[in-house]
Symmetry: C2
Subunit: 359 residues, 2 copies
């Protein structure tokens, strides 16, 4: 089945209307839409408008508060915990990032751990908020458990992404945004739709053996941490995912580990949750808290140019810096539109019918 | 050839005497020795006393200043750049970490980027300095280029380690400390000594093809980023190594990327270095900058207990948390002594003869 192409503006209006129907203010609906669609623009389709139906379902079962009182509950000049009041992560996270940026303006850096939130879209959006301020931005979030620690036969961590955005001078910035697993769950879903096996190193079965079955997570299997196997360093990916869980969950007072709340509304909330909702961690560091911004940017341009012009392996056209491919996709999709697969179009059409909104 | 066992105290006295012969003050020699030997205690043999001869050689060629004027050259309340004045990284890094801790005491967090330094031993030592202060500690460093970016047929990054230490209550703390590559270079050296091949995914040859030749780095090959291949997420390991290089090198004004200075004194310094010496990045966040420390520690104990008691894969006795194995080795080696391989014993004996110090 071929994809349908929608313009950014079409999807923007649809998403905006949906968030307003949920009861979000115009301001919050606009912000949530910008964050959500930044994923579609950058080619991270699993985190974009394909998830809109999921957010609506969470709202329907009362797990998302469309008019949250997002507030700082604990702080020092450079740190804070924000209570997201069960709001959309798409709204809570950029507000928390703004607090981190404001603190960085005052004292050089700002670090905000967030509790009582929900799925926040792509981590990269929040980290990139720092770029226009001549700051380095960081964003992470925990998520419901799909990943087995090294040597474990059970799922204890989410795919727990990390994003870091670094401004440059003339060159396009460095924007890393990645799950701390070998492959994101969305890649397994694509393989399932195509009835194809997955590469070795992505997942294990219920007993902990490597599996190439794309549906193995439904059979008690788990995703593997970045590194795949112990011999290839999976304990490092496991440590990274742990750090994200601790910074986002334990530091804020959100839930964590196997108790992180699931995104699908039909999956029951874990019993005996040790904290409130999902957690995020946002950070901003002022470049000129370390050295004059012009000096940094000039060196950063040299760094970026050197890596972008690295000698490629034969058969590879080019060596990329983190964020380059997403930037190219964004340029193309803003111009040519965003392709949606048939299942997503069907979901959105049904949602539109239910809420009386034209796709 | 069997290993020789030395007590911690024996190696401590030897190392202390060597650093004093280099002209370090008693205080600096003591600090450098504690940092260096923490690697041997924790089982990270490649970064411990085996490197002592290398530090002496750097001093002999004038690349290490034994009496550095380590000073803050730029700062805000929560950030700083420290100039290490070509000192031992073993001394510069803990001093910079202390500045980060002092800033965290004042404003909640402290972040110090360091230039003009040298190899700093294990990252974990510096991160762990935060634990006794009820702070989360972080440490990273760049290093001379041994690693090829994804799709590249040349070496542009060091093994660029990251360490994160998180305090707990009753439970032993979380201490992650890992190179952002699939395997550390030390593991290739061990395979070379044993004349054994290395596993797939650790290294590539000069053309960029996977290689199991343990000596491939001497033949134009490169280490691979964590993830090994693009399909298994090597672009994520490449991004992590990049972040460490940018935070340690570009942010401080140290050298970076392919221009990071090499550890072996016989390898020429790269031409046209864009900055001064090697770079580090140290950070500290006060737990009670986010929530009451007792609440955090109680949740952290729950986190640690849950992961340590995870269901193991059949044939594996136990699931570990980052730092558990190193802590067990430390306990055993403090009691039973530290085994050194014959090559290291020979190196140290020759060094002792030259400097008139008894091993």
């Amino acid at each position: 089945m071929s994809d349908t192409i929608y313009s950014y503006q079409q999807l923007y209006q649809f998403s905006l209307s949906v968030f307003k129907k949920m009861g979000c203010s115009n301001e919050d609906a606009t912000l949530a839409t910008s964050v959500l669609l930044s994923a579609d623009l950058r080619g991270i389709d699993s985190h974009g408008i394909a998830r809109l139906v999921g957010y609506v379902r969470l709202w329907e079962v009362g797990r998302i508060n469309p008019t949250p009182n997002i507030r700082v509950v604990y702080e020092t000049p450079s740190t804070a915990v924000v209570d997201g009041d069960r709001g959309l992560g798409l709204v809570v996270a950029p507000r928390a990032m703004q607090i981190a940026i404001d603190k960085a303006k005052q004292v050089g850096s700002g670090w905000v751990s967030v509790k009582n939130s929900n799925h926040f879209g792509i981590a990269g959006y929040h980290a990139m908020m720092a770029l226009s301020q001549d700051m380095i931005g960081m964003a992470m979030t925990n998520a419901s458990a799909l990943v087995a620690p090294t040597y474990a036969a059970e799922k204890l961590l989410g795919t727990n992404p990390i994003a870091v955005a670094v401004p440059a001078g003339e060159e396009a910035p460095f924007v890393a945004d990645f799950a701390t697993t070998t492959a994101a769950n969305g890649k397994l879903e694509i393989a399932q739709r195509k009835n194809e096996p997955i590469p070795e190193g992505w997942a294990q079965d219920a007993a902990g053996k490597t599996s190439t079955d794309a549906a193995i997570l439904k059979k008690g299997g788990a995703l593997l941490p970045l590194g795949s196997e112990k011999e290839q360093g999976s304990h490092k990916g496991y440590a990274l995912g742990s750090i994200v869980d601790i910074f986002s969950g334990v530091l804020s007072g959100a839930s964590f580990g196997p108790w992180a709340p699931p995104f699908p509304a039909y999956v029951p909330i874990p019993e005996n949750m040790p904290g409130e909702g999902l957690g995020h961690f946002l950070g901003a560091m002022r470049i000129d808290g370390f050295r004059p911004a012009t000096d940094f940017k000039s060196n950063m341009d040299l760094w970026l140019t050197r890596f972008r012009n690295a000698k490629p392996i034969e058969g590879q056209g080019q060596v990329y810096v983190a964020g380059d491919i997403e930037r190219m996709i964004e340029g193309a999709r803003m111009k040519n539109g965003i392709p949606l697969v048939a299942e997503v179009v069907a979901d959105l059409t049904a949602l539109g019918t239910k809420l009386n909104i034209q796709l």
